[in-house]
């Protein structure tokens, strides 16, 4: 008789189920409650959702501590005891979302908990010079000794208020018809990087970036701190509307937010986004009314139940867990390339977490991603990086240079990591290569304005 645990993450995800929802460890305990690591089952990918079909994991009878690290960084755990021959349901229940409509964003870590008390070691010191800066939370004490803008400041200030006052909402525009340089169309032959460096973009970004008057993105939900919108290939979607548009990857889509405090951000929209099994899905756009320092106003996540959690791990820096999820999906991702954007995400994670020097099958697929999708800069960036990492001689170095230049010509990478890797790659050539130096200067000027914590490229166009 087999003994098993039936594992899932019991989390509301808007009625959906994520087959690859989270990474769990099943840690064995003996009868006395001591650890028995030999019976552990590690790195188990479990489904998530209230209606998800649990993963059946065969185990030896006994006691187990089941822990799942969520993309948000939260940990859900449960201790169970399973008898021989039993199939024990194990529903791991993570923290609740403040609203059902924020559940996906909270699951991915885009909606952090902001409430809380000052921990014991941090004693309030007194009124803060910066107390007007963040009315909803204790401020930073700008003691003369501690420059706020640099490494060390001291925490102080009043305890947080329970409910922050609502901030005016940024206006978000849908740029479905960008100017040629941003369109991703091969025939455009215009330089996206040069365009984004122009002062005209800062003066009047909509006029400089949109070929047609852009519509305002309507929110489908909101609270005092966040707004949520849904995006499809042909523009913003209503609350229940499906992405039925038939248009392809070009012209590329962007959203641009403009806040009353003068912050203007441009973000690449990862569309079209096809699930591997269920057709196109919408991209959720979270708008933060009052982003913290270092935080972007805009955060995007495709409502792809299979790849979405992997993107969440990727954004939070948990690349080892992201790798496990992408490895499960890699045949789907690279076999048919039905969703090149998802394949590109997998390429970043697999490249970033590469463990050994031996060539692996996905490394052969990366050049295909670069070659078959000329609208996608990210494949060329990954190809360039792999060529440099495994270079055997000058030929590989020259090919890497060509791949990085091709990526440059294709415009803004969809993923922030691509922007970093493009800077890294071009800078390796810049010292001895004038053309690389010129391109690097333009890419860096954009990268300096990027919010690198967002998985999808997000650039602050306004001056600091």
């Amino acid at each position: 008789m087999t003994t098993s645990l039936r594992l899932r993450l019991y989390k509301y995800l808007g009625g959906e189920a994520a087959g690859s929802g989270a990474v769990a460890n099943v840690l064995a305990l003996d009868k006395a409650g001591a650890r028995e690591p030999r019976r552990d089952r590690r790195n188990v990918v479990i489904p998530a959702g209230l209606n998800a079909t649990p993963l059946t994991l065969e185990v030896e009878p006994g006691r187990y501590l089941v822990e799942a690290a969520l993309p948000s960084g939260d940990v859900a755990s449960l201790q169970v005891s399973v008898e021989e021959g039993a199939g024990l349901p194990v529903d791991l229940v993570p923290a609740h979302s403040p609203h059902e409509w924020l559940s996906w964003q909270q699951y991915l870590g885009n909606v952090p908990s902001r409430a809380g008390e000052l921990p014991a070691p941090w004693q309030p010191i007194g009124a803060s010079a910066a107390s007007g800066r963040r009315s909803a939370r204790p401020a930073l004490d700008l003691m003369e000794e501690w420059s706020m803008t640099r490494v060390v400041a001291t925490l102080s200030g009043p305890p947080p208020q329970a409910v922050p006052p609502a901030r005016p909402s940024p206006t978000v525009f849908w740029i479905g018809h960008p100017v040629a340089a941003l369109s991703g169309l091969e025939r455009a032959h215009e330089d996206a990087w040069a365009l984004l460096g122009q002062k005209a973009v800062r003066r009047d970004p909509l006029a400089a970036l949109a070929a047609q008057p852009p519509p305002v993105v309507a929110r489908v939900e909101h609270d005092a701190e966040h707004e949520l919108a849904r995006l499809g290939r042909n523009g913003p979607l209503g609350p229940q509307e499906r992405d039925t548009g038939g248009s392809g990857p070009t012209p590329r889509r962007y959203v641009l937010s403009s806040s009353t405090s003068g912050i203007v951000e441009l973000a690449c929209v990862p569309l079209p986004w096809e699930t591997e099994t269920g057709g196109p899905v919408a991209v959720e756009l979270l708008v933060r009314r009052d982003p913290l320092p270092g935080e972007a106003t805009l955060a995007m996540s495709p409502r792809d139940p299979n790849i979405g959690p992997a993107l969440g791990y990727m954004a939070s820096g948990s690349l080892a867990n992201a790798r496990l999820l992408f490895e499960q999906a890699r045949e789907l991702l690279y076999g048919k390339f039905r969703n090149p954007l998802a394949a590109a995400a997998g390429g970043y994670v697999l490249t970033a977490t590469e463990q050994a020097d031996e060539r692996q099958d996905w490394q052969a697929w990366v050049p295909n991603l670069a070659m078959w999708f000329p609208w996608l800069p990210d494949g060329a960036i990954q190809h360039g990086r792999l060529l440099l990492r495994h270079r055997r001689g000058k030929e590989d170095v020259d090919l890497a240079r060509a791949a990085l230049f091709a990526a440059y010509d294709r415009g803004l990478p969809f993923y922030s990591l691509g922007l970093q890797w493009l800077v890294d790659g071009l800078s390796l050539f810049a010292a001895r290569d004038r053309e690389a130096r010129t391109r690097l200067a333009k890419v860096q000027a954009v990268a300096w304005r990027a919010n690198l914590q967002q998985p999808f490229t997000t650039i602050r166009l306004s001056d600091p």
Binding site: A69, P119, P138, V151, G294
Partner: protein, 383 residues
């Protein structure tokens, strides 16, 4: 000692770990410094936390770092502080002079450190920096003590960290772990500086064939574009979290013994920084690049995990008498409160109890294995 930068060294046969620790607090050319004020000071001033942070890290490495596969061979330490003082090596009892963390000294020390790591691919390098950092995008400049001494070239007093990382790929050691406890907020100085972000220290060589794959995780104390915080004359919260993580909160027992791994360490840093700065929302969220799993320390004994005990519903907390039982001994929460009860406990099994005076709730007991990093203990009490 083999070098004026090295404050501890010991003979190691075979693969070894080489550490360099830098803490910069005194900046003569920043606000309230004793030298001419740099034009590009950007409002930056004197710091007292970094020297304490650096010394704490060096002390911990010398006293506690244990990896039989790659034992610690040497620790280099550079500090810039108001009143320079020697470093007391608690292993040897020696008071060792500490080099000042000027850019020339840092460059010389990094060159030596690179040389020590260049002996074999199996070696491991550890880099720790605490001090002022300025950034734009993925470019980060780590400021040495004499930042601004050259009025027309202030950034000559800084490490161009991105280029430095790239250049370190030329070092033979294939495991390199970096800790950067510094701000990454955008800087006017850097934005004005064109493409020069400081000294790269090492130049990458594209003509050389690629070496074996390098595992080089980088732990930042804060997100790109954000500030990092600390406290006067004490180690910074990131450094405290780092040391707690290294002591065992970042350990896992997948191999049977408890080992601190870089992946688990990231979880520990996330957890402790979140708790240390939770009053500020997400004011300081640590970040990691190039995440790669490296087992870097074998914990002596049993590490501690954090147990966060709370009643469900939360309203029951204020009325609950909380306790836990381990090894037949019970310990109670000192006073009733509506807050979570947060405990640091050696990894192991415990029975947690919520008891109540006669009234709306029934007592509840919960068996739980507590392990690093943390475990939430939900006591679901019923009317």
């Amino acid at each position: 000692m083999t070098s004026r930068f090295v404050v501890d060294s010991r003979p190691v046969v075979g693969p070894a770990t080489h550490a360099i620790v830098i803490g910069v607090g005194r900046y003569p050319h920043l606000r309230n410094g004793d030298g001419p004020l740099a034009a590009n000071h950007d409002g930056m001033g004197q710091l007292t936390s970094p020297p304490h942070s650096a010394r704490a890290v060096a002390r911990w490495l010398i006293r506690s770092l244990r990896d039989p596969a790659k034992p610690l061979a040497d620790v280099a330490l550079l500090v810039s502080e108001d009143k320079p003082r020697p470093f007391l090596n608690t292993r040897t009892g020696d008071a060792v002079p500490v080099a000042t963390a000027t850019i020339d000294e840092i460059e010389a020390a990094l060159t030596e450190w690179h040389g020590r790591g260049n002996a074999r691919e199996e070696d491991r390098l550890l880099f720790y920096f605490c001090g002022h950092g300025i950034a734009r995008g993925s470019d980060v400049a780590l400021l040495a003590a004499d930042y601004g001494v050259k009025p027309a070239n202030a950034l000559d007093g800084a490490i161009d960290f991105r280029s430095f990382l790239q250049g370190m790929d030329g070092c033979a050691a294939r495991e390199q772990i970096y800790f950067v406890d510094a701000c990454r907020a955008s800087s006017d100085s850097l934005l004005r500086a064109g493409q020069y972000n400081g000294r790269p220290i090492f130049q990458p060589d594209l003509n050389a064939p690629a070496r074996a794959f390098r595992r080089a995780p980088v732990f930042y104390s804060t997100l790109a574009g954000a500030d990092a915080y600390g406290r006067a004359r004490r180690p910074s919260p990131f450094t405290e979290a780092l040391i707690r993580g290294l002591q065992g909160a970042g350990a896992d027992d997948s191999e049977g013994d408890w080992r601190v791994t870089t992946t688990r360490l990231k979880e520990a840093l996330d957890f402790f920084l979140e708790r240390a700065t939770r009053g500020l929302g997400r004011a300081q969220v640590p970040a990691a690049d190039n995440q790669a799993p490296i087992s870097m320390h074998v914990v002596r004994g049993t590490p501690r995990g954090t147990a966060i005990v709370a009643c469900e519903p939360p309203e029951a907390m204020a009325a609950a008498k909380l306790s836990y039982v381990a090894g037949g001994k019970a310990r109670s929460r000192p006073a009733r409160s509506g807050d979570e009860w947060v405990l640091e406990l050696p990894a192991g099994s415990y029975e947690f109890v919520a008891d109540f005076d006669p009234g709306p709730y029934r007592p509840e007991r919960y068996q739980a294995y507590v392990r690093p990093v943390y475990r939430r203990i939900p006591l679901k009490v019923r009317p």
